[in-house]
């Protein structure tokens, strides 16, 4: 479980706007281009970026991929809530203060 293939898949999504469309149209088919294990492919299809990060995927990539897969409007709170296992992130407090 090196996660290298996951990083390649995510990096491809980041570089190639068409790759996102392909992924959305046929997630399994898109992911089968990469040398992913079944478990890695499952985590991606289930949007479980937390587990992937826990197993070593660079979080620059999970951060980049989340809004591509889930839409930009949930950033950063929904992403961070996911990464915190469902708990709202501490940083939300900072956004609730008036910004001067």
């Amino acid at each position: 479980m090196s996660m290298h293939a996951v990083e390649k898949a995510f990096w491809t999504l980041g570089k190639d706007p068409e790759a996102i469309e392909q992924f959305k149209a046929d997630p399994d088919g898109f992911l089968r281009q990469f040398l992913l294990t079944d478990s890695e492919r499952k985590m991606i299809m289930e949007n479980d970026l937390k587990s992937l990060a826990d197993q070593g995927v660079n979080t620059l990539l999970t951060l980049m991929v989340w809004p591509m897969l889930n839409g930009p409007e949930g950033m950063p709170f929904d992403y961070l809530t996911h990464m915190n296992g469902g708990e709202p992130p501490a940083m939300m407090a900072a956004f609730e203060q008036p910004q001067g």
Binding site: N58, L60, M83, F95
Partner: protein, 275 residues
């Protein structure tokens, strides 16, 4: 003869241009003032060329080729990202000096990856755009260290690389007044559960070491300690170490420090003065 006449520690937080309105206005103003100070100081020091030491964020270099360190010796453009609210433009390189530093490195055991054409990400482009572009005629030599994508360059090696860069500048036989930028930092957790955390105590400790010119204290922290206390983003202090080492002896002076959780980082600037 070429010489390094000064240096700066420069935040490259992409929100500086990409999302200023989500942060505290006073803090944003202080950050902008720090950039203005750097611009003024570069003018006062009559700097011709800035060597900008930054790092990629898995946007420029893919998993098929991750360099430990890279120098751009040809065309430069930036930024790579379309969400920085900076329209992409050409950045002028100092090609002869960049090639000299490249060759000096090869001759001294530093096997750079080399970019003949480079599209710069925010890791160097925020500092370039805010502090160099405003001064017509000042040229940029970009250097990228592996600081955010493993395998990262050891802090010791970043120091050795910086020392070599300083030697290379000193060995350049043309008149050239050079400054170095160490970009990034300080504490930030990028993409992890802790994102938004800022460790002010850690940040002040780092800036203190910088201002003492104490590279060895920074290296002695170790990557595990830095990760634990400063987050994965704080690994970028190797960019600072590289820039500091290029200057040989120095003292630093903090231009600005702001803990900015909505910008997800401790934002620090320091002027490095040749001691």
């Amino acid at each position: 003869m070429a010489e390094i006449v000064g240096g700066f520690i420069v935040s490259h937080d992409p929100m500086i241009t990409g999302n200023p309105e989500i942060a505290n206005k006073k803090q944003v103003a202080n950050v902008d003032a720090a950039f203005e100070t750097i611009v003024e100081r570069l003018k006062e020091l009559r700097v011709d060329t800035v060597i900008v030491v930054g790092d990629d964020h898995y946007t420029m270099f893919g998993p098929h080729c991750l360099p430990q360190y890279l120098i751009g010796v040809g065309e430069l453009e930036g930024p790579e990202e379309n969400w920085l609210r900076i329209e992409r433009y050409q950045v002028e390189n100092n090609v002869p000096l960049a090639e000299h530093i490249m060759n000096y490195g090869f001759a001294n055991g530093f096997d750079w990856a080399v970019a003949k054409s480079l599209l710069l990400d925010h890791g160097t482009m925020i500092p370039i755009h805010k502090a160099i572009t405003p001064i017509p005629g000042v040229r940029t030599i970009p250097i990228y260290l592996a600081a955010a994508v493993t395998p990262i360059i050891p802090m010791r090696r970043a120091q050795q690389l910086g020392a070599m860069i300083g030697d290379a500048v000193n060995a350049w036989d043309k008149d050239e007044r050079v400054a170095v930028f160490g970009c990034g930092g300080i504490s930030h957790w990028v993409g992890t559960a802790e994102m938004g955390r800022v460790n002010e105590e850690f940040d002040h400790m780092i800036l203190n070491h910088v201002n003492n010119g104490d590279i060895e204290a920074l290296i002695a922290l170790g990557d595990d300690y830095v990760l634990e206390n400063g987050g994965n983003g704080a690994w970028e202090i190797r960019n600072w170490i590289c820039a500091m080492a290029a200057m040989k002896k120095l003292t630093g002076e903090t231009l600005c420090y702001e803990p900015m959780p909505t910008w997800i980082t401790g934002v620090g600037f320091s002027e490095l003065k040749v001691a």
